[in-house]
């Protein structure tokens, strides 16, 4: 409010003739305005709801029921090979990763994986209420 008043006074002074600029308006801020200033409501980002991916989402999800059970929906998942059709907590995922992919990992990644597995094993099985 006080900043608006200051702007009005500045505008009024500019509207008057240039020769009589006796009172140079100074804006006084009393500190009540918010620091986040936006000049307009930001406009919504335009999302195309009918791209190829969005319109064909979910096709072949029932390939088992409608297709004589030759394939399973978990064959459609695009994922690292140790996560296709598998859900588990972090320790289970890491153990599965070590079993399936461990011997072709880089040395630093494998070392970090083993450290993390041993940390999680000790954490889950030796601390806390549920061991």
């Amino acid at each position: 409010m006080s900043v608006l008043g200051g702007l009005l006074r500045a505008g009024a002074s500019l509207c008057q003739s240039a020769g009589t600029l006796l009172h140079a308006a100074r804006s006084i801020s009393t500190g009540t305005c918010c620091r986040v200033r936006m000049h307009a409501i930001p406009e919504l980002k335009k999302v195309d709801r009918w791209t190829e991916k969005r319109s064909m989402f979910g096709v072949y999800d029932n390939i088992g029921i409608l297709g004589e059970f030759k394939a399973h929906p978990k064959d459609l998942i695009k994922a690292p090979c140790w996560l296709k059709g598998f859900k588990g907590n972090e320790l289970q995922r890491l153990i599965r990763k070590k079993r399936m992919v461990g011997d072709r990992m880089m040395t630093l990644d494998r070392h970090n994986l083993e450290k993390r597995i041993s940390f999680l094993y000790r954490r889950f099985n030796r601390t806390g209420k549920h061991r």
Binding site: A12, W50, V59, I65, F69, K78, R93
Partner: protein, 302 residues
């Protein structure tokens, strides 16, 4: 304040003058229409009466229970834009007239969204961040807080203690009968809301996309149409016509699913598709529970 309000009024009056000069039917550019507006042209098609003169093109193959009666629908054609329906078809009530279970639809839709989801969000723990093996300064005497490594989670640039860890999968499977019931409920809901159309075959005279759009607009089918057909080959004309259209899509019958049925407003099935769907979906009503997965051979299935 008064001067400010006068300035605003002046601007508004000027804008109103400009819009009346430009044209009477100029919609404001920031107009937001609600998405559930009803097209008045859709409300006028009654279901086939009992004493209709058109031939019955399809009866139900499976046995209809005695306390239910088959659903009757028009069978139309795509050959010409303003042609009358060719005949009637009977649809099995256990597939096309089941009670509308919205909770099953919600469960199946949520399953379809999540079972393929792999989240690749990953953060490094304090042991994985580069560096931080040495104690930064000695324990006592320096006057600063005691620390063991520069990559602990309270340091800037340190590891995240409880962040997302590695590629995570959200895979789960709903029971097979729940997914089958979801398909039946979706088909019944489309039937009940007059968004399901049966067509004898998918032959069109021209491979022109505009022909399809005009046909859909003239028959008031809706904004988006999903065309389903059995078999691996489709007629060339309809493939070319739907190739460039975003909201009209064609899929084989094996690819039918609840998410696509909810995303597209209208569904178009051929008579062969109806027979295929009834055959596949009604089998689950009276099957035995599997002793081993269905992908292994059974003596009496398929």
């Amino acid at each position: 304040m008064l001067r400010f309000s006068l300035v605003v009024c002046g601007g508004g009056v000027a804008k109103r003058f400009a819009s009346s000069f430009s044209g009477q039917s100029a919609l404001p550019p920031n107009l937001l229409l609600p998405t559930n507006l009803v097209d008045p042209g859709r409300l006028k098609r009654p279901p086939p009466p009992a004493d209709c003169s058109l031939p019955l093109l399809r009866k139900c193959d499976a046995v209809v229970p005695a306390h239910l009666s088959p659903v009757q629908t028009w069978v139309e054609t795509l050959e010409s834009q303003d042609s009358e329906p060719l005949g009637l078809a009977h649809l099995h009530p256990d597939v096309f007239a089941v009670p509308p279970r919205l909770d099953i639809l919600h469960d199946v839709e949520r399953w379809q969204r999540n079972y393929k989801r792999i989240s690749h969000a990953n953060t490094k723990v304090r042991s994985e961040v580069r560096g931080g093996g040495r104690k930064p300064w000695k324990q006592k005497g320096s006057g600063r807080a005691r620390h063991g490594s520069i990559r602990s989670p309270i340091w800037r640039g340190g590891g995240v203690s409880h962040g997302p860890r590695g590629p995570t999968s959200y895979y789960y499977m709903l029971p097979m009968k729940v997914r089958v019931q979801g398909l039946k409920v979706a088909l019944s809901s489309k039937m009940a809301q007059d968004y399901l159309h049966i067509v004898d075959s998918l032959n069109i005279p021209t491979p022109d996309s505009q022909y399809l759009l005009d046909l859909i607009r003239q028959r008031h089918w809706g904004e988006s149409v999903l065309i389903v057909d059995v078999g691996e080959e489709f007629p060339e004309n309809i493939l070319q016509a739907t190739a460039n259209l975003k909201t009209v899509n064609i899929i084989p019958a094996i690819g039918l699913n609840v998410h696509s049925m909810l995303k597209h407003e209208a569904i178009v099935l051929t008579l062969d598709t109806v027979r295929f769907l009834e055959d596949k979906l009604l089998w689950h009503n009276q099957r035995y529970t599997p002793l081993y997965p269905f992908k292994l051979p059974y003596s009496d299935f398929p």
